[in-house]
Amino acid sequence: MALASVLRSDYADFSFDNHKPFGFGLGLGKSDVRASLGEELSFAVQTSLNSSDGEGIERKIEFLHGTTTLAFKFQHGVIVAVDSRATAGSYIASQTVKKVIEINPYLLGTMAGGAADCSFWERLLARQCRIYELRNKERISVAAASKLLANMVYQYKGMGLSMGTMVCGWDKRGPGLYYVDSEGNRVCGDLFAVGSGSMYAYGVVDTGLRKEEGLTVEEACELGRRAIYQATYRDAYSGGQVNLYHVHSEGWTRVSQEDVLVLHQQYKPQPQA
């Protein structure tokens, strides 16, 4: 198990769960302590009596995650735009979360779902990508990187991980964009939006994306920015700042970080005379 092998560090073994990555309670016999999918702290210890009901509740799949992340391919690469709000229930835990993880100078990963899940597994992915580079003396492709991530989390399928990420990069096949999630999905595509605000973002991007003529870099950036802004406007669980990245043949560049209230003033329709 990837998790167990990472934590089996050189140090003395202080993590009790090292050999039991399946999350069985310690010394609780047949009981199963599990975090149900979508509920952080409601740890109900399931006895064998209840396992049938419990599994039904736990396996209920949470599709909507309170965030908006977006990535699309265009003529000059990939645009990645995200919001920066993290919520714990209805409390806004942070407005300054970095939802784009810089895996390496030419690969980016976005975060949606459980913050710890995303950041941990993508950090592990960065390590695997580096090992690949050292072993094979060439950069890893986006397809391979996304496959590594998908396979890592597939081993934990059904255990309550919550992660919906987009792996974006540029390799020798050109721009690459894959959507990977904790259910085991891995799809290649030209446009993805993930999160509770994704529908609003899709609406904006679908309107603005012109396949035939292509967009310039500035137009594409503005499209991504506007899409996230509109999503934060209507989705209560998205907000904060819009972080924008552009992935091109030389790697990725951080384009901008703008607070949504500044964008609101910018996009406000001018009063008619």
């Binding site: 229930g89 209805s90 939802k99 949606a112 995303c118």
Partner: protein, 262 residues
């Protein structure tokens, strides 16, 4: 509450407990009928009992980072539901001469977690011949917490200290290891009350025409004291005393302040 970039259902401390130790009401079915006499109970079938490995021991912690200092503060009340176990149980733990950790949540996990961190610090010191930096401790804590992803430490941590350049650094965590560096953060039972106040006084969030004055040490200490006094007024789990750890390049100083004991 696990930090989420997605929607995970809200569970406040109290509600968690009732969900987790949902002692399915005893099927005594003792009903008091009209006559006032207890009626016989009847057997309804197997009843499920829940055991919860967690409890919420309350408490609030707070940390503020300045230009060349960090302040980590916690109240000293240890409670459980509506009882107070101790009035002198501070939640700040000194890790290195330049780092302090504050842990709120389930006290049992706080103790174990701090023991594990201290042991790992020693191991690092012995193998690398240097003290762990604040950023390194934060990264390590994240993996320690994630190692228990499926049976988490029910602890809200905040690490406060100085980074390698001598600037104040605060790292806030969720129970499973997601973390980020902040300028100020409150965690624990009264966090939802304190955080907006800090946003206003330190972050100057959404305020127009205000000069952003950088925070001095004395002003920060005064602010922390005021903020805890206010939290004590409105949160039952916060009170009794305040312990402040001030981290500067000279070392760690401690300050205490009595709070309301009711």
């Amino acid at each position: 509450m696990m930090l989420v970039l997605g929607l995970l259902k809200e569970q406040t401390g109290i509600i968690v407990l009732s969900a987790a130790c949902g002692i399915v009401a005893m099927d005594f079915s003792q009903e008091f009928g009209n006559s006032g006499k207890m009626q016989d109970y009847y057997y309804t079938g197997p009843v499920q009992h829940h055991f919860s490995p967690y409890t919420d021991n309350g408490g609030t912690v707070l940390a503020v980072a300045g230009e060349d200092f960090s302040i980590v503060a916690s109240d000293t009340r240890l409670s459980e539901y509506y009882s107070i176990h101790s009035r002198d149980s501070p939640k700040c733990y000194k890790l290195t001469p330049s780092t302090v950790i504050a842990c709120a949540g389930f006290h049992g996990d706080c103790l174990t977690l701090t023991k594990i961190i201290e042991a790992r610090l020693q191991l690092y010191k012995h193998s690398n011949n240097k003290t762990m930096t604040t950023g390194a401790i934060a990264a390590m804590l994240s993996t320690i917490l994630y190692g228990r992803r499926f049976f988490p430490y029910y602890v809200y941590n905040i690490i406060g200290g100085l980074d390698e350049e001598g600037r104040g650094a605060i790292y806030s965590f969720d129970p499973v290891g997601s973390y980020q560096r902040d300028a100020y953060k409150a965690a624990g039972s009264a966090s939802a009350m304190l955080q907006p106040l800090l946003d206003n006084q330190i972050g100057f969030k959404n305020m127009e025409g205000v000069q952003h004055v950088p925070l001095t040490l004395d002003k920060a200490i005064q602010l922390v004291k005021d903020v805890f006094i206010s939290a004590t007024e409105r949160d039952i789990c916060t009170g009794d005393g305040l312990r402040i750890c001030i981290v500067t390049k000279e070392g760690i100083k401690e300050d205490t302040l009595p709070l309301r004991k009711d």
